[in-house]
Structure formats: structure tokens, C-alpha cells
């Protein structure tokens, strides 16, 4: 269970209406109307992306009167379906996709089974991407694809496309750059995905 206690507030006197906050908001809860950001507090996770990227220092964080609590329980869904999504993504269900908050691949898969279609939906449902906002986007995009979801382009700069993973690298590249130990690492990944000691 992730308990979120803060939300963003705009100082209208400082805001110049540049719109960067809208472009970087991971929960897509900011929209510009009449040159000022409007924040939908129902979905603001308090991730601070808007605050960090505001060139006018016009955003501050405020305490919620009641915390916003987020969790999707994987146990409420068919375990075989969760395993299948993770397997197609080359992940084990217990992997913490969001290391900041310990949100596992199983919980992300459960959110997808509950109807998440984009990284924004997953953020709103689980709180993933609220922390460092940097590590988790690839596993999230891959879990969505693994579930057969066609992820649209983001409305701003929230996400771009899936990038190559280690297990997708062509043989000629592996041979060309041996110092990076790609061959060994790929064998290791395959060993993990085959269930551990069964190399």
C-alpha cells in the first residue's frame, strides 16, 4: 500500500503559463486553461516533476488532509494471467519494477488486468513512477505490451517508446563488443527465466 500525502499547488503570481508542468506530469493531472495550470487533485501523486521542471519556481507542495492510498492486490486476479504477462516480458512476478516503492511486476500486471492501458493509468492505480521517475518506465511499457496493450504516444513528454533489451541484441554485436560480457549476461538472463539453476 502506497500512501501519498502531498499534492502540487501553483502560485498564479509566478506562473508564466509555459506549460512544461503539463508535459512532464506523470499522472496527466495538469492541464493549461487560460494560460494557467489546473491541477486535478484526485490524481496528483505529489511526484514533484512539475516542481522540479518549472522554470519560474511557481509550484510548491502541500500536505493532503487525508493520504491518497494506492494498491492493486495481485491476489484478486488470476495468477496464471499475471504469470503469463510477466513471462512475456521476461520478468518474474516478484521483481520490484518500482524500486522506490517496492511495487512488483505482479502488481503492475494486476493493474493491467484491471484495465490500465497506459503508464499514466498504472501511475494513477499503483503509484508507480512517483519516486525517481527514471528506472521503471521500460518494465512498465514492456508489461503493457506483454499483455497485448498497444500503448499510444504520450500527450507530452511522459514516455517515448520501448528501447532494446539485453536479450534482443544481435549475435554480431555480442561478438564485436566482448568486453561488455553480453554473451555471459544473456546466458545468465536465460538461466533466470528458465527457473533458476536449470541452466
Amino acid at each position: 500500500m502506497l500512501s501519498l500525502t502531498r499534492y502540487a499547488r501553483v502560485d498564479e503570481g509566478l506562473c508564466t503559463g509555459c506549460g512544461i508542468c503539463e508535459l512532464v506530469c506523470i499522472a496527466e493531472c495538469i492541464s493549461i486553461a487560460e494560460r494557467l495550470p489546473q491541477i486535478d487533485l484526485e490524481y496528483c501523486n505529489g511526484c514533484m516533476n512539475c516542481l522540479y521542471r518549472c522554470p519560474d519556481d511557481a509550484i510548491t507542495m502541500e500536505e493532503r488532509t487525508e493520504p491518497r492510498e494506492l494498491y492493486i492486490d495481485p491476489n484478486e486476479f488470476d495468477q496464471r494471467q499475471i504469470d503469463e504477462i510477466c513471462e512475456k516480458t521476461n520478468m518474474t512476478p516478484d521483481v520490484p519494477v518500482c524500486g522506490c516503492h517496492g511495487i512488483t511486476a505482479a502488481e503492475i500486471a494486476a493493474a493491467i488486468l484491471k484495465g490500465a492501458k497506459t503508464p499514466t493509468d498504472i501511475t494513477r492505480m499503483t503509484g508507480a513512477r512517483t519516486g525517481c521517475k527514471s528506472m521503471c518506465i521500460q518494465p512498465i511499457l514492456r508489461l503493457l505490451r506483454g499483455a497485448g496493450v498497444e500503448v499510444p504516444k504520450s500527450k507530452g513528454w511522459q514516455w517515448y517508446e520501448i528501447t532494446p533489451a539485453i536479450y534482443e541484441i544481435p549475435h554480431k554485436t555480442i561478438e564485436k563488443y566482448q568486453v561488455f560480457r553480453m554473451k555471459d549476461d544473456i546466458e545468465l538472463v536465460n538461466r533466470i527465466l528458465k527457473g533458476g539453476g536449470k541452466a
Binding site: 514533484m48 522540479y52 507542495m61 521483481v95 521500460q138 544481435p170 549476461d185 533458476g196
Partner: protein
């Protein structure tokens, strides 16, 4: 060993705190960690006399850094840059965390001045990236008045959530930051700090920022999550060698440091050559210090710098190197994975890296947020000094659960008393941003002097040749590679 063999000095005065948005107002800190009773300092060149001598700090002051940078740039071809062109000097926030940040700022100023003088180009911009803490580079730019130096609006901080640009590589598309590459030419201005050995593994060290500081979250996520092994460092190489980067790349200029301080500067049009020189330099200059950390069998780590946990320094060694000191991460046969999507299954196989069991407790006198650190608090007894700093941590979206695993002490002295009781050791190491030496307790000073000669011998005779061979370097032909003076 006699007492005379253990050379200790009064504590080294660490750099002043930097006031930034990721830390509590430093004016509220009542006592600095080096002021703890019984703390002494140990000079790294007393431990390892063969370590290259620093030019900074030194008698010439910051002028020595400018001179070394200008000298390194003399061998660089800049003829591709024409007066009518635009140039982006690409930088990173990490460089500003050494010795108060001035040496790195001076490298950036010098590169700008030399390029302007030699090419006649006036449109030279600074693009300073970050890993986490999206606003940090902007704060450094303001503090060092780099916006005035480069010209109003020409020096900006860039972050991995800014607008991206696709970069086609030989293995597919990765994403860089549009503002990093919005010029005719780019100059990669970085530093060689050992920093995160558990990630870069001293392979292609100079390239890493192309997958980090100048990269979008998608690329950073790939590095940390869907690769996350030794091979992740290939991402930076793939991006650097892409036609997109190659057609803009002019040269690189690096601030060269070691645990003793700034030892010079290096620059090259050939990044592969430069990167290999840096890898060799770091194996030579950090190998012994890293292995010495492994000799510490029990210790309390005290934090007292305007940096997050992993990136706080003691004698130029980042804390994360103590965190992983029990594994030889220079040895490429070791996996060294501790996060990413393979970390949990690898630990189940007994192949992952657990945190160093020698760390018995950590005390946070002053530390920045902005790096996920709650896992450390889950592993080690954690004592936070001051309720206000505890509240600051609790409000950080990357550390929302940090204080669930920490206790609070109202004063540093109370924190240390408690830490000693639970850790049952007098060994203390302080991560307060010092270079040249480290602030430690007398018992730890003694241990370091006892162990250093043997470590020096083992590294010279056994480990360094192995590390070199693994990277395809000829052992014995190295020290002359970088002209650091």
C-alpha cells in the same frame, strides 16, 4: 606496528554544505561530523605513497586546474568548429560534488574560453544534465554564476524528463535529451570519478553519461532495468557511436581526480582512446583504496555532505564503494548486480550482491534526498539526526518510507552514542566530501595503516594485472598514458 607508523592529523575541514532544494537548510545543522570527539584524519598518500600527487588543492589554487585543462586542450583538433556554428558543452551535476564544485566549474569555464579563442565561435552553450534531482544542475549553474559566464540563457540544466530525441543505434532506438543535442557540435565535459563502480565496472567509463546525464528516462530505465548487468554499459557505447552523435561530436575534456584530489585534465577527439586511458587511470588510482575498504570488518558510517547517500564522499571514495567493498567489482568475472529486473532472481540463485555486512550502522548528520535510499535503512540500523531532517526525508517522493525504518536522535552526539551501542564498534568513517584524506576514528585509522601495505602488494602483483587483462590493456604501460601535470 608502532604508534609512529600510524600517521594521523587533526580532522580535515570538509567543504561547506551546499544549500539546495534537496536538503534541509544547512544552517540548522548544529555540529559537523568531523567535530565528533576522537575523530582524526588519515592522508591517502600516507597509506598509498605511489598515488599520483594532486595539483589541487595546492599552492597554485584553482589556477592549476585551468592550466591543466588548457594544456590538455592543446592537443585537441577544434578545426571543425566554425565561427558561425553553435556548440553545446555537455556537463553533469556529478562534477560539482567534488571539492565544493569549483574545480569542475573551472574546467567548464576553461573549455568555453579555449574554444572561443581558438575557433572564433561565440555561440557556446552549457547543457548540464542530472541523474536524479532534476533541478540540481540549475542550482549549480546559479551558484557558480555560469549563466553570466556563458551569456544569459546559454547555461541551462537539463533533466531526463525533458523533451526527447530518438537516437538510432546499431541495436535499435534509444532516446537522448533534445536540448543536449540542439547544436552543430557537442563537447563532452565530464570527470573520471570512480563513483558507481557497481554499474560501470570501469568499462568505457568516459562514455556512461551518454546513457545517463544526456539521456531520457527510457534509456536510463533500460540501463538500470532491462539490462542492469555488466553489459548495460554497451548502451552508452551504442549511443555514442550512433551517426546522430558522431556527426555532432567534437571532442571530450575530463577533469581527472583520484582520492588525493585533482590530478589534472585530459582531452581527446578520440573518445575510445580517452575512455581507455581513464579506465586504466582509475584501476591504478582507485584500486587500492577500493580494496582497502574491504578490509574494514566493522564500521559506523556517518553522513555529512550535501549529496545523497550513495554519492557522499570520504577521501574521494563514494559511499556506494564501501557498500559493495566486499565484492571485487573491478573483476569482470563477478556479476555485481544489485538492482534491476534480474536482481531478485539473481539473489535467489546466490549471484546477486547484498550490502556490505561490515557496515553496522549509519548516522545521517546531514544528507540530501533525491535518491531512493530506504533499502539501506531496511538493511542497516539507521539514525537520523534532527526531527526536521526526518520530516524532510519523509516528504521526498523517492524516500516516502525511509523514516519507517529509521530512528531519530535530536543531536549528533546522541546519535553517535546510540550507534556505538548497537554497532558495538569504535570504528567510524565520515562521508563529508573530503579529498586527500578521510576523517575517521583512531581505531579505524590504525586498522587502515595495518592493512594498507598488504593491500598495496596484492593489488600491484595480482589484482591490477588481472583487471588490466580483462579489459585488454597491457599491464605496465599505463602511468605515462595520462599527462596529468
Amino acid at each position: 606496528m608502532t604508534l609512529q607508523d600510524v600517521k594521523t592529523y587533526p580532522p580535515i575541514q570538509p567543504p561547506p554544505y551546499f544549500k539546495g532544494m534537496m536538503g534541509m537548510d544547512p544552517a540548522k545543522v548544529k555540529k559537523r561530523a568531523h567535530e565528533i570527539a576522537g575523530i582524526v584524519s588519515v592522508r591517502v598518500r600516507d597509506l598509498f605513497p605511489d598515488l599520483a600527487e594532486p595539483i589541487y588543492p595546492g599552492s597554485e589554487g584553482i589556477a592549476a586546474v585551468r592550466e591543466a585543462t588548457a594544456k590538455a586542450l592543446r592537443k585537441v583538433d577544434m578545426s571543425m568548429i566554425k565561427p558561425e556554428h553553435s556548440v553545446n558543452i555537455l556537463a553533469s551535476h556529478h562534477g560539482f560534488t567534488f571539492m565544493g564544485g569549483e574545480p569542475y566549474a573551472e574546467v567548464l569555464r576553461t573549455v568555453k574560453d579555449v574554444v572561443e579563442e581558438r575557433t572564433g565561435c561565440k555561440n557556446i552553450r552549457l547543457r548540464a544534465g542530472v541523474g536524479f534531482r532534476w533541478k540540481e544542475s540549475s542550482e549549480y549553474i546559479r551558484f557558480f554564476e555560469l549563466d553570466d559566464y556563458f551569456g544569459r540563457g546559454k547555461a541551462i540544466g537539463i533533466a531526463p524528463v525533458d523533451e526527447g530525441v530518438p537516437i538510432e543505434t546499431e541495436v535499435g532506438t534509444f532516446y537522448g535529451l533534445k536540448k543536449a543535442y540542439d547544436a552543430d557540435w557537442i563537447i563532452h565535459a565530464h570527470n573520471n570519478d570512480l563513483r558507481e563502480l557497481y554499474f560501470h565496472r570501469e568499462v568505457d567509463r568516459a562514455m556512461k553519461p551518454f546513457a545517463m546525464s544526456y539521456a531520457r528516462i527510457e534509456t536510463r530505465s533500460a540501463y538500470h532495468s532491462t539490462w542492469a548487468l555488466r553489459s548495460a554499459n554497451f548502451i552508452a557505447r551504442a549511443i555514442f557511436e550512433s551517426p546522430f552523435v558522431q556527426k555532432r561530436f567534437a571532442f571530450s575534456a575530463f577533469l581527472m581526480i583520484n582520492p588525493a584530489g585533482v590530478v589534472g585534465a585530459d582531452a581527446d577527439n578520440d573518445m575510445t582512446e580517452l575512455s581507455q586511458r581513464i579506465d586504466r587511470h582509475n584501476l591504478e588510482n582507485y584500486g587500492k583504496a577500493f580494496k582497502l575498504l574491504d578490509e574494514i570488518d566493522e564500521v559506523i558510517a556517518v553522513f555529512d555532505q550535501s549529496t545523497p547517500s550513495s554519492y557522499s564522499f570520504s577521501a574521494g571514495m563514494a559511499f556506494n564503494n564501501l557498500l559493495h567493498a566486499h565484492v571485487d567489482l573491478f573483476n569482470l568475472d563477478n556479476l555485481g548486480v544489485h538492482l534491476g529486473q534480474y536482481s531478485v532472481p539473481l539473489r535467489k540463485l546466490g549471484l546477486g550482491v547484498n550490502p556490505n555486512p561490515a557496515i553496522k550502522a549509519w548516522v545521517i548528520n546531514y544528507m540530501w534526498t533525491g535518491l531512493p535510499s530506504h533499502r539501506l535503512a531496511q538493511v542497516y540500523p539507521t539514525i537520523m539526526v534532527s526531527r526536521e531532517q526526518a520530516s524532510f526525508f519523509g516528504a521526498d517522493p523517492q524516500n516516502l518510507r525511509f523514516m519507517d525504518y529509521a530512528v531519530i536522535a535530536d543531536t549528533l552526539d546522541a546519535a553517535m552514542q546510540f550507534a556505538r551501542r548497537i554497532a558495538k564498534t569504535d570504528n567510524i568513517i565520515i562521508f563529508d566530501g573530503t579529498f586527500g584524506g578521510l576523517n575517521v576514528s583512531e581505531s579505524l585509522a590504525k586498522l587502515l595503516f595495518e592493512k594498507a601495505p598488504k593491500i598495496s602488494e596484492v593489488v600491484d602483483e595480482k589484482l591490477l594485472p588481472m583487471w588490466m587483462k580483462q579489459r585488454g590493456f597491457a599491464y605496465g604501460l599505463i602511468s605515462s598514458a595520462i599527462d596529468t601535470r
